[in-house]
Subunit: 410 residues, 2 copies
């Protein structure tokens, strides 16, 4: 076994992928029309319990459309986490807006305490009538009040919350804040398809069983190659608001108001998922619950095998969450004898692929000088977290071997 | 035969598509890494005679990246045609810039006479030192002089020329103007993969044999489902400048400057083509020259069968062009007894799919009030052109039948 390469996270195509893909090629329905697109959209919608879903080319594309649908425009501010993949933030710039970065809490997701503090102390609510927005905005956002950043006078029409590694952000607290301060809530659930609140009595009734991505105004999933299910590359936009989804479909398909005569009523995008990709996705979705079982079982193997090693903490998820367990996050601290980066090197020398968490986005070149909350947790997790192999094809023996190498490091 | 539906333009997957796609699925390389992506990029580059090509998710995505690479930024003006699919224009807005619309000539492509007139009379060259651009711009565009629109004081850093329906725009004239007035030239060759100048002595030596897409600063191909070859959805960026392509690859892959540590040095995009899509593309490219032979032969069938019908003109391509003959454009005028739209209806009643040309973009809602050249040709072609079935699976009998229905209309 020691000779085999253990990848971090690779696709697992042992279901009906080839059957469906072959059908798409043989019927010559490989492009943006075709039955798999609608079937896949319907299947995802049913799985997460919303009436409809709109497919797109990537999670990034979905997040871009979501911001557009929230009325984000040039000059606005959008609240985002600093500890996430940069695709959650770049779409803010695609719209000509700027991000405001928030710290994370122990879930690695946006800290609702710091979010509230930002809204409370640095922002204020203004009535629409006193705001400087044009008519276009009025129709996109309805009537006020709207959140404004006091010092810059800029609108704060939306926030993006990311369900990091398949954990769930504290949606109960975040939606309470959003209700009070009126930013639209985009749920970046690109890593969290399958994660949901349990039905435990501790969870408010309204949230029981709710899936990540379905609680805010708009949610986005990703089917990138490293995700729990893949279409090669792809994404899905969900919402409980049918009107938003109709508009999402319009924007992802070049905003044709008259298909026959090529008339377009707004600036749209070519963000369509193809039938070939959707064929793959449908076969993958059929296996999602099995994949989550494997991920959960391998999490338990890691947990047991790494227990009691001083300085190591395999992060768990927030209470009352059924997580998809997409990525395993191991915190590496003293007195463990090496840093996270050194551990990654050790694993690599044993042909085991692992990785550090993302670089904090507020520190990166394109976002230098941005507004931020106080940053206490994210920098710490940034220096500590190592992601361990988590493919659904990872065997329990693989996981035990990885843990053995980590233990040997001590 | 009369009972069979004849589509406008559908994929033709009779080559090694299934073999390559099966290989991608069976090896589980379906996402953005994998051998087909690099093989497909190399094969397209070799085919059009450039050192390298960078794949992307769509022609639209390629055009967006091309504008970014030309230094187009918020507040700029970009010269575009009005008679084209809107995907050639929307990326201007993605960058926060605005289009200036040009009329077409008899090739349906941008009229170089009106282009020159705009540059000459409405614009002026300014030295960099007298311009208001920041440092970022300096590095993106080199040293001046730069073209400015006099009345608005806005920069005109680029123009987008579209090779409509697989014809070739007058690149010899357009590049002469670009040399004089310094806008970067983006060639939208999304419809023109395979189109090139002949080696006829009438063509300046430098242009002989040159492929559409390879003559300007950056060229873009599309592999959408209706194109001459398809990847389901996809595109390709080409240039003779290796540095531009390295930057294009960086931007299409989220601009990671440190892959391991997730450090990004600019705002990038998730515009990657997947291995699964590239597998399809490679198999398609192997058949491209055969597809062009079929398209050319069917053009000749239409031409002969429609000859001599008063009021009908099947448009030919510019002289000294080997065209890929992607779309056939039939002009319908008096004394033909019906309008183009009526003819489309007649064909539809015979289960033959055809379509009008695109709505003029300068007249569409998102672009109302834009700067334009005088518009004399585009409105005329807009009212006259009907596109006839042109799939590579169209048989000569199909084409004759279509022509028979059109003739019966008289």
């Amino acid at each position: 076994m020691e000779d085999r390469f253990i990848p971090l996270s690779v696709p697992n195509l042992k279901g009906k992928e080839l059957e469906y893909v072959t059908h798409a090629v043989e019927t010559e329905w490989v492009s943006t029309a075709g039955p798999y697109v609608t079937d896949f959209e319907a299947a995802v919608a049913k799985y997460v319990g919303v009436p409809r879903a709109v497919s797109c080319q990537s999670g990034t594309a979905g997040l871009h459309v979501a911001l557009r649908l929230c009325g984000v425009r040039a000059g606005d501010l959008v609240i985002v986490p600093t500890l996430t993949f940069i695709a959650a933030v770049n779409p803010v710039r695609y719209q000509g807006a700027d991000p405001v970065f928030m710290d994370c809490d122990r879930s690695l997701c946006m800290d609702p305490v710091k979010l509230r503090s930002f809204c409370e102390t640095e922002c204020e609510l203004r009535d629409y009538s006193s705001a400087s927005a044009g008519d276009e905005q009025k129709s996109a956002q309805g009537s006020g009040p709207f959140l404004y950043h006091k010092k810059t006078g800029r609108r704060v029409p939306a926030l993006v919350v990311v369900h990091v590694f398949g954990n769930m952000a504290d949606m109960i607290a975040i939606l309470e804040i959003a209700k009070e301060y009126h930013p639209k809530v985009v749920e970046d659930a690109t890593e969290a398809l399958g994660t949901h609140y349990t039905s435990d009595p501790e969870i408010p009734e309204h949230f029981r069983g709710a899936f990540a991505g379905t609680m805010g105004d708009i949610g986005v999933y990703s089917f990138n190659g490293n995700k729990i299910i893949t279409t090669g590359g792809g994404g899905m936009i969900v919402s409980k608001d049918e009107e938003i989804l109709t508009h999402a479909k319009h924007l992802t398909t070049q905003a044709k108001s008259d298909e026959q005569n090529f008339i377009h009523d707004e600036v749209g995008y070519n963000y369509r998922l193809t039938n070939l990709q959707a064929a793959l996705g449908l076969a993958q979705l059929e296996q999602l619950e099995d994949f989550i079982k494997v991920k959960q079982a391998n999490y338990e193997v890691y947990r047991e095998a790494l227990e009691g090693i001083p300085g190591l903490e395999l992060l768990d998820v927030r209470p009352h969450i059924r997580s998809n367990r997409w990525f395993y996050a191991l915190c590496v601290r003293k007195p463990y004898p090496m840093t996270g980066m050194e551990l990654i090197g050790l694993l690599k020398s044993h042909k085991i692929q692992s990785r550090p968490i993302w670089g904090l986005i507020h520190e990166q070149l394109p976002y230098e000088g941005s507004l931020t909350s106080e940053m206490t947790e994210a920098p710490r997790y940034h220096s500590e977290v190592v992601n361990l192999p988590c493919s659904t094809s990872l065997t329990q023996e693989d996981a035990k071997y990885v843990a053995k190498v980590i233990r040997r490091g001590t």
